[in-house]
């Protein structure tokens, strides 16, 4: 067998192009080739093509030389059925083309997304072998090493990574973050400095640098960096928390309290990269699926939540958790009938399934069956007297039945179970204001809500509204100032400012 280059006129195109084909050569073709080759431009094209072909062949042959083991969890058969099925599918896909870097990288991310870090590291090492110029592969080998508990080795690997790939921003982020965890402040400072240079829009660079400044007691400098981070990412709780610490260091207690409350329940999200953004689609463990479904439900896409959980139910047909979460998603997606059917099945299996009674209460309330809704919530309270959710469900059912005073009492019980919940106070304020027309009580609840969470914008808005309605200009202005400070983009702000200005105008005073 031999390979020749055949030039052919493409019928569709005006230009001649080069093609590779297995076959024989006619005299006409030979003449054409000689004529074509006599032109320098064509010769150059041919040389470039040959180089490309050689490079492709070289890479392919190198990859073929690489000895790869496809990593498989030793206890695959014992893993969660949904994850197992997904892993088997992905493993088959990788086995088809084990030298395909994309497939190995995907396998690594699949393992990582499901917490199987040993196997993830193996897969990322495979990618490293197949494509030594891929910085993400080396980075994720280090990430896996860190996840496996060897922080010192991970820091070393990140350092190597940044030396090999000096313009790779995520590498500096990881180096800075891991260095801070290891207490290596100077190294972190250098890494975050470089990250800012490479990715000036990335808030984590400034937050990292702010943290570095905090650690060396330079609170004013830290606050400056952290304000920069917050400007880039106003909702990042971690940056607010760090700013709170900087304010505390500067002796600004009020500012510190505000920022610390804005940073409450912070979570740590590493800097995204081309691989990490694909990870969510590979998550197959129930806790992650529940989180994902909750996220979709609360961000206006309950249909997606339903889809995820219906799939999970196929793999876990009797699982209480899946049924309860799916029912919640049904309720949120406007399918309370489906929720009720599912939950009735759930309590048939377990008549002490507390979350099922809560879910049933909500679905019945949505279906207009108020008495049932109240009864199910009461049963939930019986099962868990300390559970605020049960009382919240009862309040919801009572409100649906227009028994507002009782609903408020139920909310009070909920608050006793969860005395840190500003949201419950907020709801109590709303019931007082909108259902019971008790402005003074409403104001008290909103005040309590902001005492619990000084960053709760909706409560500040209500407080401002109420003060305006009561003609209390200075209190209204105080609330507006707070909103301006913590949520300058809040759409209610211009309206409130306008109303408070009118309140202050002489004309209004005359009125």
């Amino acid at each position: 067998m031999h390979w020749i280059v055949k030039l052919s006129r493409h019928k569709a195109g005006s230009e001649k192009s080069l093609a590779i084909e297995k076959g024989t050569v006619s005299d006409e073709d030979r003449r054409f080739v000689v004529a074509w080759l006599s032109r320098p431009k064509h010769l150059l094209t041919l040389a470039i093509l040959a180089t490309i072909v050689f490079a492709v062949w070289h890479v392919y042959s190198k990859r073929s030389e690489v000895s790869l083991t496809i990593p498989v969890p030793a206890d695959l058969d014992r893993l969660d059925p949904q994850l197992r099925a997904y892993l088997q599918e992905k493993l088959d896909w990788v086995r088809e083309k084990p030298h395909d870097t994309n497939r190995q990288a995907t396998l690594g991310i699949v393992y990582a997304a499901n917490g199987l870090w040993e196997r993830a590291r193996d897969a990322f090492r495979n990618v490293e072998q197949l494509d030594p110029n891929q910085p993400l592969a080396s980075m994720y080998v280090a990430v896996a090493t860190q996840e496996l508990g060897d922080l010192a080795e991970a820091v070393r690997m990140y350092r190597d990574l940044t030396l090999r790939f000096p313009d790779f921003a995520p590498g500096y982020y990881r180096l800075g973050d891991a260095s801070l965890r290891a207490g290596e402040v100077a190294q972190a400072e250098a890494a975050f400095g470089r990250l800012i240079a490479l990715a000036p829009k990335e808030w984590r660079g400034y937050a990292g640098l702010g943290d570095v400044k905090l650690r060396v007691g330079q609170y004013a400098e830290a606050a400056q960096e952290l304000q920069q981070a917050i400007q880039l990412a106003p909702d990042e709780k971690m940056a607010h928390h760090l700013l709170g610490l900087a304010c505390r260091g500067l002796g600004r207690k009020q500012g510190a309290e505000m920022e610390l409350s804005r940073g409450l329940n912070a979570e740590h999200y590493p800097m995204p990269d081309a691989w990490s953004v694909t990870a969510a689609q590979h998550m197959n463990l129930l806790p992650d699926l529940f989180d994902m479904a909750k996220h979709y439900s609360t961000t206006g896409n309950p249909a997606k939540a339903v889809e995820i959980l219906e799939r999970a139910l196929k793999f876990h047909p009797g699982d209480k958790g899946v049924m309860n979460h799916l029912a919640a998603a049904y309720n949120q997606s406007g399918q309370p009938q489906k929720a009720r059917e599912l939950l009735l099945r759930a309590i048939q299996n377990d008549d002490r399934n507390l979350p099922a009674y809560i879910g049933l209460s909500y679905s019945c309330a949505a279906l207009g069956a108020s008495n049932d809704a109240i009864a199910y919530a009461s049963r939930a309270i019986e099962l868990g007297t300390n559970n605020p959710q049960s009382y919240m469900a009862k309040a919801n059912a009572l409100l649906a039945a227009e028994r507002d005073t009782e609903a408020l009492a139920a909310l009070e019980s909920a608050y006793r179970c969860d005395p840190r919940s500003a949201d419950i106070q907020m709801t109590m304020g709303d019931v007082c204001l909108q259902n019971l027309d008790r402005q003074t009580d409403a104001l008290e609840h909103y005040q309590l809500a902001v005492n619990l969470n000084p960053a709760l914008v909706s409560a500040h808005v209500r407080i401002a509204q109420l003060h305006i309605e009561r003609g209390a200009q200075s209190e209204a202005l105080k609330a507006i100032q707070t909103i301006r400070k913590i949520a300058p983009e809040n759409p209610a702000l211009p309206l409130l400012e306008d109303r408070v200005n009118k309140l202050a105008s002489p004309k209004n005073n005359r009125d």
Binding site: D75, G115, G183, R248, K253, H295, R416
Partner: protein, 566 residues
């Protein structure tokens, strides 16, 4: 695109999955001179903890196991009280119970549980706090458990009486760690209990470790954090539940650890509660019977990134020996144990390459103690480790949750280095360790250790460090002859200062030697000792020769108010 907490290094709520097939086997260790010798069997300490685990994963099985060191018969030797889980299966009749071991001296113990009547077979035990609640000079035992705690009053004749109901301290919550302390400075020990979650068997859920294997749930799955409990000692043998009136109902958490001490030098003992996966609470004593949670503004509620971690055991330790108590809390693997350094009552999460938290990253820590094991004048650290979920690393034990414990040698100035093999024994002891307590069991001036291991035998670790420095110990007693809980001692020896507090109820579900111990290095004498008694008075004592245990009784020293900065 939604952001999911992928690759949340150091903050993932679940532990990683098993990887047994690919583990490299137990790590090999170089033979070095051990610090401790495991002597449980030779010493007749035959306690074997039982969680009662069979097929379902009930979360209390993962948290149970504490130990108390107390000299219940006042013979001068510390005895050992081990708390057992038992069984959560109501059909089980012969449940394993707690055990009390009388110290006979010469590293021999005799089990006296039956005579003492402290087995507590009818409860599922978690931990204990030892203290003289009725001021009769005898150490009593408070045992925490699942939905029922027990107060054992020491009768002084080798027996105890269960006085829970008459004292009014049954609680009814799931108690974990507890501490006796005198919050209103009336000279009587009050009692605070960290409660975990509201749990019952029928509220158990099916959970999975990373990778999807059936496993124990996280407390966050239950969404039912518990309110802690505060009892005020009325002085007549009874207590009053003052949780709500004191303000402890203002914040809940999944409480596992508790320690009480004066963190802001206002002369009043405060309460720090370590919560599992929720912000910790620092209940600052307002002086009027009320407490206010100031953990967030004081900087010890969450880590420096604002993330709540899985707090388990606590050590209140003056790491820099400057008179301010820092907080060290044990955590899940990958989170790492955390040190909050106290500056004028405000805390900073301090991470340093040689700090005490760094070597803990691969382990899940529970019990913890700082003590000067080698008497060189620097505090060392022992942490009892054991997973709560299947993990990535397998240490060669049959128990998939087992890990080696950690021993760190203090180098001074907050620096530490790990002593290998892990835990300081000839061979690392691989177990799922929970509560631990430290104390001088043979009065030789060196601190020994007892560790409770889930579903395994307890470890009795005799301190065998050959080249120890000098030492001194003090038994601080109030004017009634009871242990002066809350007293603060400063010893000056050869230009070095040793700060200690009488704070035995700390760690995880455990109670330590109530006496205070200072390693003196080369110093053969302590020049002066100043004690701040719980009522605020200060007295000086000394000088003292090293290598002895001394009793310091309130109102027998030279009045020296104002010497200590309180």
């Amino acid at each position: 695109m939604m952001l999911l907490p992928l690759f949340l290094i150091g903050c993932s709520p679940s532990s990683p999955p098993p990887a047994k097939a690919d583990n490299k086997g137990p790590p090999e260790f170089k033979s070095v001179k051990p610090w401790f010798e495991e002597t449980a069997r030779q010493s007749n300490l035959n306690f074997k903890h039982t969680s009662g685990h069979s097929s379902r994963f009930y979360i209390p099985e993962m948290e149970t196991g504490g130990v108390g060191l107390l000299d219940f018969d006042n013979d001068g030797l510390l005895d050992i009280f081990c708390v057992n889980g038992g069984s959560l299966d109501p059909s089980v009749t012969n449940r394993a119970g707690n055990k009390l071991y009388h110290n006979l001296g010469n590293w021999k113990f005799e089990e006296v549980t039956e005579r003492a009547a402290v087995a507590g077979h009818d409860t599922y035990g978690m931990g204990c706090a030892c203290g003289d609640y009725n001021g009769d000079g005898l150490m009593d035992i408070y045992v925490t458990g699942l939905n029922r705690n027990i107060l054992y009053r020491n009768n002084g004749d080798g027996t105890f009486s269960d006085v829970t109901d008459e004292a009014g301290v049954r609680s009814g919550s799931w108690g974990t760690s507890a501490a006796f302390f005198d919050y209103d400075l009336d000279g009587r020990l009050d009692l605070v209990i960290a409660n975990y979650i509201s749990w019952s068997r029928d509220r158990e859920m099916d959970c999975f470790s990373r990778g999807g294997l059936p496993d124990y749930c996280s407390p966050m799955n239950y969404k039912s954090p518990a309110m802690d409990t505060l009892y005020h000692n009325r002085g007549d043998g009874t207590f009053e539940n003052v949780t709500r009136s004191a303000g402890l109902d203002k914040a809940f958490g999944n409480g596992l650890g508790v320690v009480c001490a004066d963190f802001n030098h206002d002369g009043r003992p405060d309460i720090f509660i370590a919560n599992d996966a929720m912000p910790n609470q620092l209940w600052m004593n307002q002086g009027n019977g009320k407490f206010a949670d100031e953990a967030m503004i004081r900087g010890c509620a969450v880590n420096r990134m604002g993330i709540a971690e899985a707090g388990m055991g606590i050590a209140a330790v003056d790491l820099y020996q400057h008179g301010w108590l820092d907080l060290f809390v044990t955590h899940l693997e990958a989170e790492g144990n955390r040190l909050w350094v106290n500056t004028n009552g405000y805390f900073t999460d301090l991470v340093r390459p040689k700090g005490p938290g760094f070597p803990s990253l691969p382990f899940t820590g529970f019990g913890v103690v700082f003590a000067d094991f080698d008497n060189d004048g620097n505090l060392d650290l022992y942490a009892a480790n054991g997973k709560v979920k299947y993990g990535q690393r397998d240490f060669g034990a049959k128990d998939p949750y087992a890990e080696p414990n950690t021993l760190l040698r203090g180098l001074g100035n907050g620096d530490f280095e790990e002593v290998l093999p892990g835990g300081g024994t000839v061979e690392p002891l691989i177990a799922t360790s929970r509560g631990m307590a430290a104390g001088d069991l043979d009065n030789d001036g060196s601190i020994d250790i007892v560790v409770i291991n889930r579903d395994g035998p307890a470890h009795l670790l005799r301190n065998v460090i050959g080249s120890r420095g000098h030492w001194i110990m003090f038994n601080l007693l109030n004017s009634k002859g009871s242990c002066a809980v809350g007293a603060i001692l400063r010893a000056e020896a050869g230009g070095k200062i040793c700060w200690r507090q009488v704070c035995p109820n700390q760690g995880y579900c455990s109670s330590n030697d109530p006496r205070v111990h200072c390693g003196l290095g080369d110093s053969q004498q302590v020049d002066r000792v100043t004690v701040r008694w719980p009522d605020g008075t200060q007295e000086s004592f000394g000088p003292f020769e090293a290598q002895h245990l001394y009793e310091l009784r309130e109102r027998t020293g030279k009045r020296s108010d104002g010497v200590l900065p309180y």
